[in-house]
């Protein structure tokens, strides 16, 4: 499976959306965990400092400055790794006692706390971050009590790192999961697509496999299969009806023709009825030909005649058609210009392809003016063969180019011409059957009809190379 195909699939996009939602909720959860751990620790420390300040202020009130300094010194002694910060300063911020040299330069935050760096002389002059709360004692003395935030920020970082890893892992797993999920979904959809393409290509008996799990894909396959069965049933019905019509109408017509034939044979050659009977036979033949063509189109469209597909040499076909119709062109002094620029082979029904070329060629010669020129060209563009037939006749108006493919549709000016109005319908049906496209263009003046074959995947010329 191609990556682009995977990325464009709706199941993948759906899993991406899901992934984003999932990531959002994980983020929320992790945020809560962070708040509950690191936040709790910070609040705990703050509360301890507040309690300590209250205690020290009490000492000062009861024992005076000397008692406060003693207590501070005592506490500093008992805290050798100096995780606590104490400073007592005069009203002009001159240090009186404590374990930092000067009143910190930092400004007091809106919450009444200070965050600053300090150099710890006892710990070898290392610089630490501290968070402290200043307090003004009675008499204008300033007291600062704080805690070194080393431990806290280490914990904080540990937790953030753990959370980041957790987040990354979650996202990676979700992405991998969505790729695997979409891939397996795509695989099943691809199977349905493959089967549909094969059915469209004419394998009408083909059905979509089910996995037997009765999940939604199985249900889809079952429904599609039921639909295909119904279409097959209707098609068989139509075929049955057309076969019957053809049989029922063509049989009496043929008897009529035979009787006319016998009548014709019995006629005296001088009889004035000779022409009338001749014309009647011609009319009967025309009717029979029309029914024949209708039946043929119906059968081709039903897709049942693909069984006769073989490797067909288009150049030989075009050559034969040109040879067959060359004499007709000559009678009208039309120059038939045959250009076989390639020798492509296609998989197809030889007789029907020949019929299609004949129908186009017949139209071209029929509608060409006397002494005109008709081009029959076989070329290959990007290894897809194309048969082009161009004349210098009146052409087909752009607006009617689709309509002329309908059964019995005839341009007003061609109504007087001999023909059934089925010729191009048959060509279109043959083209569809061969995965080819029938396109009309303007020859200024005249019509360009082009049969464009799409090179099938199992190109016959490739098969030949393998031999």
């Amino acid at each position: 499976m191609k990556t682009a195909e995977l990325l464009a699939s709706s199941s993948f996009r759906l899993s991406l959306v899901y992934m984003v939602l999932f990531a959002g909720s994980v983020l929320l959860l992790l945020g809560f965990i962070y708040w509950a751990t690191v936040g709790f620790m910070a609040r705990q420390t703050d509360a301890t400092i507040e309690a300590e300040i209250t205690g020290l202020a009490e000492q000062y009130r009861e024992g005076g400055l000397g008692s406060l300094i003693n207590i501070l010194q005592d506490r500093i002694e008992r805290d050798p790794d100096s995780s606590s910060v104490y400073l007592l300063a005069s009203p002009s911020f001159k240090p009186l006692a404590g374990n930092i040299d000067s009143w910190p330069d930092a400004k007091t935050g809106s919450d009444g706390w200070l965050t600053f760096a300090f150099k710890d002389t006892r710990a070898g002059g290392r610089v630490f971050q501290a968070r402290a709360r200043p307090f003004v004692l009675t008499g204008g003395l300033h007291l600062l009590v704080g805690r070194d935030t080393r431990e806290l920020s280490a914990t904080q970082q540990l937790i953030i790192r753990a959370l980041a890893w957790g987040m990354g892992l979650t996202l990676a797993l979700a992405l991998a999961g969505s790729i695997v999920m979409s891939r397996s979904m795509l695989k099943r959809i691809e199977r349905i697509n493959l089967a549909s393409r094969e059915i469209m290509a004419g394998d009408l008996q083909r059905r979509i496999d089910t996995m037997g799990t009765n999940d939604e894909f199985d249900q889809l396959a079952v429904n599609l299969n039921a639909m295909l069965d119904e279409i097959a049933r209707l098609m068989a019905g139509i075929r049955h009806v057309t076969d019957n019509i053809a049989h029922d109408l063509r049989t009496p017509l043929t008897r009529l023709r035979t009787r006319l034939e016998q009548l014709y044979a019995d006629l005296d050659e001088e009889s004035p009825n000779v022409t009338r009977v001749e014309q009647s036979i011609a009319d009967a033949d025309q009717l029979l030909a029309t029914f024949g063509a209708l039946l043929r189109i119906a059968r081709i469209e039903a897709g049942g005649v693909r069984a006769n597909f073989e490797t067909v040499d288009l150049a030989a076909l075009a050559q034969d058609a040109a040879e067959l119709y060359g004499v007709v062109a000559e009678e009208k002094r039309i120059e038939l210009d045959v250009r076989l620029e390639a020798k492509p082979h296609v998989q197809g029904d030889r007789d029907l392809l020949f019929q299609a070329i004949i129908n186009l060629l017949d139209n071209a010669i029929k509608y060409s003016p006397q002494s005109g020129r008709v081009l029959l060209q076989l070329a290959e563009h990007d290894s897809s063969p194309a048969i082009t037939i161009a004349d210098q006749g009146p052409g087909i108006p752009f607006a009617e180019r689709d309509r002329v493919l309908e059964r019995f549709y005839r341009l007003d000016r061609s109504r007087s011409e001999h023909g059934s109005g089925l010729g191009l319908s048959l060509v279109a049906a043959v083209a569809r059957m061969h995965n080819a496209k029938l396109e009309f263009g303007d020859n200024h003046p005249g019509l360009i009809a082009e049969l464009n074959f799409k090179r099938s995947e199992q190109a016959p010329h490739l098969a030949l190379h393998c031999l």
Binding site: D243, V305, A307, N308, Q355, I358
Partner: protein
């Protein structure tokens, strides 16, 4: 000719029977597959005409059984289905020719003549065909009339060869399309007539006795005493 007709539709059977009897042939008719197969394997016929769809035993099965019994009698299949795949199936089963219902009686008649003649002429492989003073040398692929060579295009040669091979028999336009052009299709115009008239101008023009003539309502025939 002694003919066997296996056809379940009484009207079609009657129509064929009547036409063939008028033409001087003897026809045995079977209305179902089983009777037909019995007759086909026990009696001796020149040509068998077998309908493709029959009650009981279908036409293709009969053809296969007849061939399995080593009976070489030419078989013509009649079919109302009338599309190419059916024809291919019929010929694969061992039939010699295939005719789509409905058909002009002249078409059936012409084909039966050719089928019957195929058996008799298969023994002698001729390299020279001769109709009156018109000669065709199949080795050098050349033609001449009264000793004078006639220039022929390859397709004209095949056309003349087919006509001369069936000299004295009516050859229909469909038969020509099938055997000379080797395509089964519906010609939109009287294109065969144009080819015939060209050939005619080459072999008959300037000679007192025309050899190639049109059989009204049926086809063409090349014949010495026309």
């Amino acid at each position: 000719m002694r003919l066997l007709l296996i056809e379940d539709d009484p009207e079609v059977a009657n129509y064929i029977n009547k036409g063939l009897s008028e033409g001087g042939h003897t026809v045995d008719t079977a209305n179902d597959g089983k009777t037909g197969l019995l007759l086909a394997t026990t009696e001796d016929y020149d040509v068998m005409i077998i309908d493709r769809m029959l009650p009981g035993l279908d036409g293709l099965t009969i053809v296969k059984s007849v061939r399995a019994a080593n009976i070489p009698t030419p078989i013509l299949i009649l079919s109302a289905l009338g599309e190419v795949d059916d024809r291919v199936q019929g010929l694969k089963a061992g039939a010699d020719d295939y005719l789509i219902k409905p058909f002009a009686f002249s078409e059936l008649d012409a084909r039966l003549e050719v089928l019957q003649r195929r058996v008799t002429s298969a023994l002698s492989v001729e390299t020279r065909l001769k109709v009156g003073d018109l000669e065709l040398d199949q080795l050098s692929r050349s033609a001449s009339r009264a000793g004078k060579p006639i220039e022929l295009q390859p397709r004209e040669y095949r056309l003349l060869e087919y006509l001369m091979r069936h000299a004295g028999q009516v050859v229909t336009r469909t038969m020509l399309l099938e055997h000379v052009w080797d395509y089964h299709f519906d010609p939109q115009t009287n294109v065969i007539d144009v080819h015939i008239s060209r050939l005619r101008s080459k072999i008959d023009k300037g000679y007192d006795k025309p050899l190639l003539r049109t059989v009204r309502g049926a086809g063409y025939m090349i014949n010495e005493n026309s």
